[in-house]
Amino acid sequence: RDYVSIAGSSTVLPFSTIVAEAAGKRPGVKTPVVESGGSSVGKKGACTGIGTENIDIGNASSRMKVSELDVCAENNVEVTEIKVGYDGIVLASDRSGPELDVTREQLWLALAANVPNAEGTAFVPNFYTTWNEIDASLPNIAIRVLGPPTTSGTRASWEEMVNEKGGCKQNAAAKAILKAEGKSAKTCRPLRTDGGYVEAGEQDNLIVQKLQEDNSSFGVFGFSYLDQNSDVLQAAKVGGVAPTFEDIAAGDYPVSRSLFFYIKKAHVGVVPGIQEYAREWTKHWGEDGILAESGMIPMGEDERAVYADAIENLPTLTADMLD
């Protein structure tokens, strides 16, 4: 194989392809082939098998877990972790619709499959139908949020950051019930399936368009779609912070995550162009770069320097680095 093969997160894909395209402009370099598939495909792909029938680089919108790194170890594969930037997950609606300023806890109550009952004694299936039932300050419209299906990493991140960390772990009643029942806060993650949350497929553009058809609905998607459609969409503030470029980069916006790719070290020096592709990232991942232009939130200077260095030296990712 004389081209780099990349697969993984659909969130990283747009940025990865921009870099791939730029890398391919060099004479004699074949443009890397970038496939989608989801973060776990990227992480797993990076960790399975050596040889040209396997991918060289896996993209991921969430960091590798120790358990996932174990797969690498099992397969005797060493990978290098490169962080490239951040992505915010936004809740947005049509500009003609009501503005929303919610906390993660309120979002959890609105969208979780199970919420504490009124007495706070047990989890019951979500009974909220309008936003103002959760808090009087919220608008009196039906809860209807369009978002990705269970096969999406974006959704998994949302569930973790909103339902678990921002919801159950903050809510006194929930904490009490969890403790009483001896369950972990993870069990708060699932989203409701009764129509308040609508699985709309992994077509974010379609969600954007549907929001314009129905201005009382909200949609969950990546920051870049908001960025491109800022004239028609308005984002809900979460915890009082609007998802702006600066606030996500500064880490103030609570629902954001890091984007990574993992290099299969053994392929470096075998498949041509791997390191060249990685280096190409460093040219574009700054505040003025084309990636920011497309909606990726850049890292700070220092972090960029760290990972630029990693690209040159290819340190092997180890379990203690992950903790």
Binding site: P149, A200, G201, E202, L206, K210, E213, G269
Partner: protein, 459 residues
């Protein structure tokens, strides 16, 4: 010798034996009293010799080429350094060697890799020469033997035709192998799935809600793998699609075949066929952004709550897509109803519509069933429209105004989305596929029985 060139040479040898044998038989025949005295026409002798020369040699070529690389790879292992580091990876080393052979040098290349690559190039040259020699030799020899065997009593035509028949039969096995391949590519995963989820729960469970079950999320949510809502959703959407496609398609077919002038028919039929060729993404957008809001607003205006994702919108648009399946195929079938039945009906004083409704359609029923089945297959297999317009929520409902999802769209969503190969969620896609194939099989056998039963009835 490169394999392209070798194949050309092989064809050349075949051609040479073709002409040689043909010539030989003609001159042999001359002494016996012309072509009439031979068993077969001269070119059959030619083809026989060509077949003898080319086909075995070609099979040898294919087998050799398939085996070559793995032989080289095992040979190359002798070049691996004796003192291997712990992290020495044979497969990567082999890739490296092959890269060097292909002229790709990345970074610094160890000396032994270069050596191995050089050896590889030697073997390659040797092997390709050997292969060329063997293939050419085989072709020449077998061709020669066939050429020698040529005599006017030799039943060349029979042999050539037997070869052709065998080839044809071999082709018909492709369909069988495809099925076997499909079953094999889903069965192991399905078995693993049924090891995790009981088949009873899967087949009769009423709730479908698989959660991501790996990584951080392992064991977090409660997954449900009851496939009933998916099959019910498939049924609901297919029924809606058929409610649109069958009347429209069937009435179009009837009008085109029984009333319309041939000219109108020749224009309208291909026009309608375009509907089947429009990419489904387009239908998806059409369904999600035009039809669904229309239904929602219409519903609101008469006091119904219609969700933006509704089976209705997806079904209607899917129905439009499959109209041509019903119209074109039914049109052919209706045309094929024997004129004698029409005559019988007209002879009794039926109006045209009476004869169509009571005689022609019943007689054409098997074919119409066939066309509808094909349309159903297409509807069942469709994903994009469903995902975009009906959502992915597995509601068990018969209300067409609700969001539902279908088996195929779940399969695609699961396989395309974030996945982990050992999670029940991913495996469930294979189990769904297997179940779906079994169901269509039963449907097809049923349809075949219907067709058989009715086929006995007329003519």
């Amino acid at each position: 010798m490169s394999s392209d060139l070798l194949l050309i040479v092989l064809l050349g040898i075949g051609a040479a034996w073709f002409f040689a044998s043909r010539r030989a038989i003609v001159s042999q025949g001359q002494s016996r009293g012309g072509i009439k005295a031979m068993h077969s026409l001269p070119h059959y002798y030619g083809f026989w010799a060509a077949i003898a020369a080319v086909i075995p040699a070609f099979i040898f070529f294919v087998v050799w080429s398939a085996a070559e690389e793995s032989v080289f790879r095992s040979l190359a292992e002798q070049y691996f350094p004796a003192d291997r580091a712990d992290d020495f990876r044979p497969d990567i080393a082999l890739t490296q060697i092959q890269n060097v052979v292909a002229g790709i040098r990345v970074g610094e290349v160890p000396a032994w890799v270069d050596e191995a690559a050089l050896a590889w190039v030697r073997w390659d040259a040797l092997a390709s020469n050997a292969l060329a020699a063997i293939v050419i030799g085989m072709a020449a020899l077998l061709g020669f033997l066939a050429y020698r065997a040529v005599n006017p009593d030799f039943r060349a035509r029979n042999w050539v035709e037997r070869t052709i028949t065998v080839l044809l039969a071999a082709c018909s096995l492709v369909a069988i192998f495809t099925t076997i391949g499909i079953v094999f590519s889903v069965i192991f995963e399905s078995i693993r799935f049924f090891g995790m989820i009981s088949p009873m729960d899967f087949l009769f469970g009423l709730k479908w809600n698989p959660q991501i079950e790996f990584g951080e999320n392992a064991g977090v949510g409660v997954s449900n793998y009851g496939a009933v809502p998916l099959f019910a959703g498939t049924l609901l959407i297919s029924v809606i699609a058929l409610l649109v496609a069958v009347p429209t398609g069937l009435f179009s077919a009837i009008y085109l075949s029984e009333y319309a002038s041939p000219r109108l028919r020749s224009v309208v039929k291909p026009l309608m066929e375009i509907l089947a060729g429009i990419p489904t993404v387009v239908y998806g957008f059409f369904a999600a952004l035009t039809v669904a809001p229309f239904f929602r607003e219409f519903g609101q205006s008469i006091g119904l709550t219609v969700s933006s994702e509704s089976a209705l919108a997806a079904g209607v648009v899917m129905g439009i897509m499959i109209i041509p399946f019903v119209s074109s195929l039914s049109d052919d079938v209706i045309n094929a109803v024997p004129q004698s039945l029409r005559d019988a009906a007209y002879g009794l004083g039926s109006t045209k519509s009476e004869s169509i409704k009571q005689v022609i359609l019943p007689a054409a029923l098997p074919g119409i069933v066939g066309s509808v089945l094909l349309a159903v297959s297409r509807a069942v297999g469709e994903t994009m429209i469903v995902v975009m317009a009906a959502g992915l929520a597995a509601n068990l409902t018969a209300n067409p105004l609700d969001a539902v999802t279908t088996v195929t769209s779940q399969i695609v969503t699961i396989l395309v989305g974030d996945q982990e190969f050992n999670s029940a969620k991913t495996l469930s896609a294979f189990a769904l596929a297997l179940t779906l194939i079994c169901i269509t099989l039963v449907l097809n056998i049923g349809a075949l029985q219907i067709v058989k039963k009715y086929r006995e009835q007329y003519d």
